[in-house]
Symmetry: D2
Subunit: 226 residues, 4 copies
């Protein structure tokens, strides 16, 4: 059921908004599940660490970690252990989100350990060169997000289409089995349609849905033109 890699895919990053914390997180995940079932579009949610277990128990769509720390089992108080994320229900993880940039060696480690544990890896990047670099590490997805557009309301698929197209081309050249997502400023059906037409296989988004008056309606609009 949790065919997280089925595309086109929408990944909703809950970030640390109060609107997507605790009970609100559960309600939002339920809305995602409802829209996914009604429309057949694959929608995954990436809640905060302490909300992940509950959501994975309560909804039947893929639940992902927002981040995994580069630590192994043992003495790492306060860190997020990959094995713990998996057992709590994470079917994949964001890696190197622009709000949680990681060291290159640590990205490599988490991509490899995700693969070993059959968890989907989605590495976030900020430009074409970095996307190409990440492709050499072999993740399942590369999600390119020009940092200046994140949370701006200006969709990357319209403001910087060449970044999406260039990323698709660069990643394909290195490793054709890696899928490209795009993010930053995405919120409407037109944004998503444009993103797919540029060669991406889905979107990574947050505030455009989370802070909408009705996240459910916003999601329905988002996937309406696929």
């Amino acid at each position: 059921m949790n065919l997280i890699s089925k595309t086109p895919i929408v990944i909703l990053n809950f970030k640390t908004y109060l609107e997507s914390t605790g009970k609100n997180a559960l309600e939002l995940a339920k809305a995602c599940e409802k829209v996914a079932k009604e429309t057949g579009v694959n929608i995954a949610v990436a809640p905060q660490p302490m909300d992940l277990y509950q959501l994975s128990q309560e909804v039947d769509i893929p639940v992902m970690a927002q981040h995994i720390d580069p630590v192994t089992a043992g003495g790492h108080t306060g860190s997020i252990l990959l094995e713990c994320a998996k057992e709590a229900g994470a079917t994949g993880t964001l890696i190197n989100h622009s709000e949680k940039r990681m060291k290159l060696a640590d990205i490599d480690e988490i991509v490899k350990r995700s693969a070993a544990e059959k968890m989907i890896s989605v590495v976030c990047t900020n430009n074409i060169e970095i996307s190409a670099a990440v492709a050499s590490l072999g993740p399942d997805f590369v999600a390119v997000e020009p940092p200046e557009l994140i949370g701006s309301g200006i969709p990357v698929s319209q403001a910087e289409p060449e970044v999406v197209e260039g990323t698709v081309a660069a990643v394909q050249k290195i490793n054709p089995s890696i899928k490209v997502l795009c993010g930053a400023g995405i919120s409407t059906g037109d944004d998503m349609k444009a993103a797919l037409e540029l060669g991406s296989e889905g979107v990574l988004l947050a505030s455009g849905i989370i802070l909408a008056k009705s996240p459910e309606k916003a999601l329905l609009d988002l996937v309406s033109k696929i």
Copy 2:
């Protein structure tokens, strides 16, 4: 019921051991609950972030966060938000554990925000001077752990009793309402008894219990001489 500040107290830090992850975490927390009820000693557990919600639902002893990130609600993907920890059931938090050292300004921020949210703050320190420094920030507890003894099996209450006594004296001088805990190498009833006789009001411990053949028996021994 969750009178987390009742002393003497035992805080069991689950760290990131596989023996205290997921189902193992739940089993361990149940053992802690059983011993707490049988003996009347206050035992709190500090599980990994993604295990916290489940444990707070399943056991009736205080559940604490291992760490809270110095971020406020909004765009902080991958971080542990205080409000999310509270809603997930955390009644307090460790701060500045030796495996997750924090910047001074961030310790101050989390202590203040914990107080505002009525969560208990336990700031870890590594010597007398730092314990005195932390006392000026006004947490509920200071937990002193000489770093060279952590995980060593050599109990601080016997190897460096002067650190515990000196911390109690230094903290009392700055702010008599702050309670002192001690940790590092603690595992037996004699260790705990010695810790209390030195003026501390409890212990913070991990591997001595978590990695024991029977954590329940180890806990019973730990609190047997109080």
Copy 3:
């Protein structure tokens, strides 16, 4: 000659402005030296790491490091070693500047090692509680700078005099031998006069002088009402 602890003292933090880099750094240090000699006021400069050696060779006023990394001799490529700073001519160091916040345990380490090497330690803080905390670590100076006023042009000595007075009182209570400096928004003779009247023994400043049309004139004005 390098009586860095003589007060009142002005510490000019060169930060990483191009106006205080390389040749500009040398010119600025010469202006500080000139004003110090003309007025008798103790003026110390804290240049960027790679400018420190040259300045310590060329001027006869105290030269301080902006930061020392918490590493010991050995394998720490890219770090700033205390012993190297000292041999390069640093007579003291800023610690925990608001632009380079440090972990509590690391502040403690650098304060102690500075004392052992007879280097003056100036620990930056952001409020009264943190200033009191730092006083327990025993540095030579505590420099309080409300972060919201840094680079604002609004002088702390006028906007938040209670922070300066409160810091002086709190630090004195913990350890009367520690001197208090204040910073943030300081640039004129009136600002400095007010700072001293509030009980501080000097100021820590940067942009108000560095970015002035004539840093020399700005410095002369700064010390004109002492």
Copy 4:
């Protein structure tokens, strides 16, 4: 004269050894200069930040930074600014050394800014995948160092020749203009010869020379079989 990119090249990383601090750093750099002149082999030195200016004044071989911080001019107290490094005499910089791992986005930034300032960029990596990743960022050199061999005395060119060959192949495939160096455990002429035969164009090394009884003799041996 400072044709830093002439190969074969030896880059001597001074790390933070006391044996390569201050006066010792100068003496060591002089030895490198002497051997470079006698043998015609390109030898570059990477001293600690506070020693860089003096060395660039005193020796006529390339002097490199060990690290540059991802900051721009302005308010970044304690950071190492690229423009300051350049003006102090750095003709290039190590990036992402195993002892100073950087975030992927920051590596990209420093590689691009180094190129803009005509400084040579040497990005350190730890395996073939990461080397390939870095090649997409377009630095001048990739220096591969298996972390388990660093400081071990076991030369990478003999213990893990496949890592060197694999890195050369992977980097060439992405961008043939990028040169590969190797490091970890290198200290003798045989090690260096083997490194070149595997396709690398030089070595990055430290303790094998710095801690030798006579660094000059060790250097002479190192380059004796080229």
